[in-house]
């Protein structure tokens, strides 16, 4: 590795001030610090430093995303083969696994390449313009964006959404660490509002329109997600035949049974379907202390609590879905583990995190059940709590401040009473 470092040392003058390629200094700097943690030593304050840096932190989040990514890739192939009747639900999951992974990979890899390519390109551009080092934040955002996309989303749309999110949600605020909204969710929200036709309805299984046109589509496969199906029951009586037909899919033998939803063998965004894979990632994040368990736990409790309240109301079939079933559907788990916990856009105080997570979880279920136009309530809920996170923190800070003021007033009282 000495050789590599010597090479870097040799070409460095070209990139430094006055060198031929000084315009590309940020690129050189990013690559060098990517390969080698610099030999900078501490010079004021503490003489020793913790081994962790932002690169390690981000890398662990990526690692935590791997189960969801692998499962999602497999599942896209699995769903496609199921929808055209090539395999049946009674086949073992490993049946034709390479074919499934292959179909998935052909769809997923380009999404990842586009997301990273566009996002990092913009990061380099801004870092060059502002003359600061390239921050690691996008390493995670760039992986999150593909995982919350429908499988057949056109690549140009992903490119536009990524560009929008990086510029408007992050760079205009000053880059990594300064953003108010979660970058990946901003990309998703952009597509949702800019291209509503392409981003809703029966798009959640690869090639579903074409399969339908060719008459290959198996009965019962519509390309809608569980939440899309459930939204259809809103406004209908609990015991109406339409509602019963939908709810039968959520029974123990249905397509969206609790077990299927937990394992993730249902249609949906690439990374969001498998609660199991997501929880594996959550375990790593909590174990390493990188993800906030406070937010995850309170988010889950908020979701369960709100679903339980709906159970009590039971005004339509959607509301009767058991709380544990609600939280394994849609993007709830993915949002809880990977989106709500983004430390920059979340609440920053420990107490604030409890409140923030709880509101987020409750809102996710509230929005998806009450407003069928937004089946994916999690996205809206998290963007909303991102916005109110500083407000939550403000109240926590105020409580801390007023504790101190009370103590001061009490001390004043004692000193005046002793003076008398």
């Amino acid at each position: 590795m000495k050789a590599l470092h010597q090479l870097l040392d040799r070409v460095r003058p070209n990139f430094q001030e006055g060198g031929k390629l000084s315009r590309f200094w940020v690129v050189y700097d990013a690559l060098e610090t990517f390969a080698f943690t610099p030999g900078h030593v501490t010079h004021k304050g503490t003489h020793i430093r913790d081994g962790i840096d932002l690169k390690r932190t981000m890398f662990i989040v990526i690692l935590a995303l791997v189960p969801a990514l692998l499962f999602g890739t497999w599942n896209q192939g699995h769903q496609y083969l199921l929808s055209i009747g090539e395999i049946s639900t009674s086949d073992p999951y490993l049946f034709r696994i390479w074919e499934k992974l292959g179909i998935g990979a052909i769809k997923v890899l380009p999404l990842i390449v586009v997301s990273y390519g566009v996002g990092l390109g913009i990061e380099f551009l801004f870092a060059g313009m502002r003359k600061h080092a390239i921050n690691e934040g996008f390493l995670v955002s760039g992986m999150l964006i593909p995982l919350i996309m429908p499988v057949d989303v056109p690549l140009w749309m992903v490119a536009i959404a990524t560009a929008f999110a990086v510029v408007i949600a992050k760079e205009v605020f000053g880059g990594t660490g300064m953003n108010i909204l979660n970058v990946a969710l901003t990309a998703r929200a952009f597509l949702f509002f800019a291209y509503p036709k392409q981003m809703s309805g029966e798009i959640w299984i690869h090639n579903v329109e074409a399969s339908k046109a060719d008459g290959l589509l198996v009965d019962g496969y519509t390309g809608a997600t569980a939440l899309g199906e459930l939204a259809g029951t809103v406004g209908k009586a609990v015991d109406s035949p339409e509602a019963a037909a939908v709810m039968s899919k959520f029974g123990p033998d249905g397509m969206f049974s609790w077990m299927n939803a937990f394992l993730g063998t249902i249609p949906g965004s690439i990374g969001e379907t498998s609660s199991l894979a997501i929880l594996l990632g959550a375990a790593l994040l909590i174990w390493t202390g990188i993800g906030s368990w406070r937010i995850m736990l309170s988010f889950l409790l908020g979701g369960l609590g709100m679903a339980f309240v709906f159970n009590l109301a039971a005004a339509n079939a959607y509301m009767t879905l058991p709380p544990l079933h609600q939280v394994v559907l849609g993007g709830f788990m993915f949002g809880m583990v990977f989106m709500a916990t983004d430390p920059v856009s979340a609440a920053q105080t420990d107490m604030g995190k409890w409140i923030y997570g709880f509101i987020g979880g409750a809102l996710s279920i509230l929005i998806r059940v009450v407003n069928p136009a937004y089946p994916e309530g999690v996205m809206m809920a998290i963007l909303f709590i991102n916005v109110i996170a500083p407000l939550i923190d403000h109240f926590v800070v105020q409580a801390n401040v007023s504790r101190r003021e009370k103590r001061w007033l009490a001390a004043q009282k004692i000193s005046t009473s002793t003076a008398n």
Binding site: T37, I48, D50, L54
Partner: protein
């Protein structure tokens, strides 16, 4: 019986080269020095001139703003040089030492009988006043104040900390005399002593309120101990003093000599013989290095490794430092796969558990170098400081208010209670490599200037 308070937040950083619990006399340094920078914010006005013959206890300089506060020579000898830096700022006052010390005699008094005025006058004249620090602002105290209470932290919890039983062995009579004197100087809050549960060295000390503190570093920081007993409110003043200075104070009053003995814990992975060394204050640091020479591969730190100052070749042990550490310099770049951020990290120490080393038994000791282990970044990670900051204060919000020069915010968020050293562990653990102690010091300075 004393109270026991359990501190939960914090962390012990286990470094190799823990000093053994034995004391050896260090070789006598040829030159001793007092560095005004050890007394934050003091502007010295020289009294002695180069070439003057001095006894231990003769005045070197006084505080320009508080002329009654004098700084004395710790040894007898000849004033060698007043070392000046940029803008003629005095960096060090060097005294070429005699082979053995002769002491200037101060009048003695009985600290239990003397009045507050008599004791204060003796402390000022006897050169021990500079060793009082005050909260708020963590600066040398002002003799015009009458502090609500005086706090002594009876132990250090920092990495490679001295063993107080070893440090104070045979010196408890002077310590007790010093405590009686502090009792006279303190206001209604009295004198507080923080100890470790079961600490035998302080058994039988009278005239103090003893509180035992369990838990990890920074439980030994005096600021933490104040916070958990009687926190500093706006408008109040608390004084603090190190146990070794309490000993010197007792010795001054009962024996009439300015005898600044230090038992220094010298350690670290690069130290050839980690143990305690007995020296006089102001000694050159090299006599504590166990025979090792200065090199650019080794960093010598006066004070604890989290908040001390770097000693350059030929430099001195700080006047308020009771530790010396020798650490490997970390100037080599670390390749990502073998030692960097993508490596398994089997030799990396972190409070975050992002490296598997947190699974190792608690007794495992690490040889940390001085590498920054990453580059400076904006705040990203949250909750990190809170885990090692045992105050009912929101550290990130306080630091941000300082960065924004928001005086009102700093005040409301509790800056009166903190010293830079209280943020040392936060700084250590910071993913974004913020220089928190520097930031906090600037905030304290700003506030002190604003309040006049």
């Amino acid at each position: 019986m004393s109270r026991t308070i359990r501190i939960r937040k914090g962390a012990d950083i286990r470094l190799q080269g823990r000093p053994a619990a034995q004391v050896v006399d260090a070789q006598r340094s040829a030159v001793y020095a007092i560095q005004p920078s050890d007394f934050h914010g003091v502007i010295p006005k020289m009294e002695a001139r180069p070439g003057d013959r001095l006894q231990a206890g003769d005045v070197l300089f006084r505080d320009k703003e508080k002329p009654e506060v004098v700084y004395l020579s710790p040894v007898s000898g000849v004033l060698k040089e007043v070392v000046r830096g940029a803008k003629r700022r005095i960096l060090a006052v060097e005294v070429e030492a005699d082979a053995t010390d002769t002491f200037r005699s101060f009048p003695t008094l009985d600290p239990q009988r003397a009045s507050r005025e008599e004791i204060l006058a003796a402390v000022l004249q006897g050169g021990l006043f500079p060793f009082f620090e005050q909260r708020p602002f963590a600066v040398p105290a002002n003799p015009a104040d009458r502090p609500r209470a005086i706090y002594i932290s009876g132990f250090s919890s920092a990495p490679l900390a001295p063993d107080m039983g070893t440090v104070l062995a045979g010196r408890m009579e002077d310590f007790q005399a010093g405590v009686w004197a502090l009792g006279k100087l303190a206001g209604e809050g009295g004198v507080h002593l923080g100890v470790r549960p079961g600490d035998s060295v302080y058994a039988g000390v009278k005239g103090v309120e003893v509180t035992a503190f369990e838990g990890p570093h920074p439980a030994g920081n005096v600021g933490v101990q104040i916070h958990w007993t009687h926190p500093v409110n706006k408008g109040e003043v608390i004084w603090t003093m190190h146990p070794e200075d309490v000993v010197a104070l007792g010795h001054l009053l009962t024996h009439g000599h300015y005898r600044m003995d230090r038992v220094v814990a010298a350690g670290g992975s690069e130290h050839p013989s980690p143990q305690h060394y007995r020296v006089r204050m102001g000694s050159r640091a090299d006599v504590l290095m166990g025979g090792a020479a200065y090199s650019d591969r080794v960093r010598v730190v006066s004070g604890d490794v989290l908040s001390g100052t770097q000693v350059q070749a030929g430099g001195y042990l700080g006047a308020k430092h009771h530790q010396l550490a020798m650490l490997p310099e970390g100037r080599d770049p670390k390749f990502l796969l073998t030692e960097g951020w993508l490596s398994p990290g089997l030799n990396k120490f972190s409070l975050s558990r992002a490296f598997p080393t947190w699974l190792l038994p608690k007794s495992k000791e690490f040889a940390l170098d001085t590498n920054n282990n990453g580059e400076h970044r904006a705040f990203v990670v949250s909750g990190q400081y809170e885990a090692v900051f045992p105050f009912d204060i929101l550290p990130v919000h306080l630091v941000k208010s300082i960065l924004a020069n928001d005086i009102d915010g700093m005040e409301r968020l509790g800056i009166y209670e903190v010293a830079p050293e209280d943020f040392a562990l936060c700084e250590f653990s910071c993913t974004s490599k913020m220089e928190l102690q520097h930031i906090v010091r600037e905030g304290l300075d700003l506030l002190q200037n604003e309040l006049g």
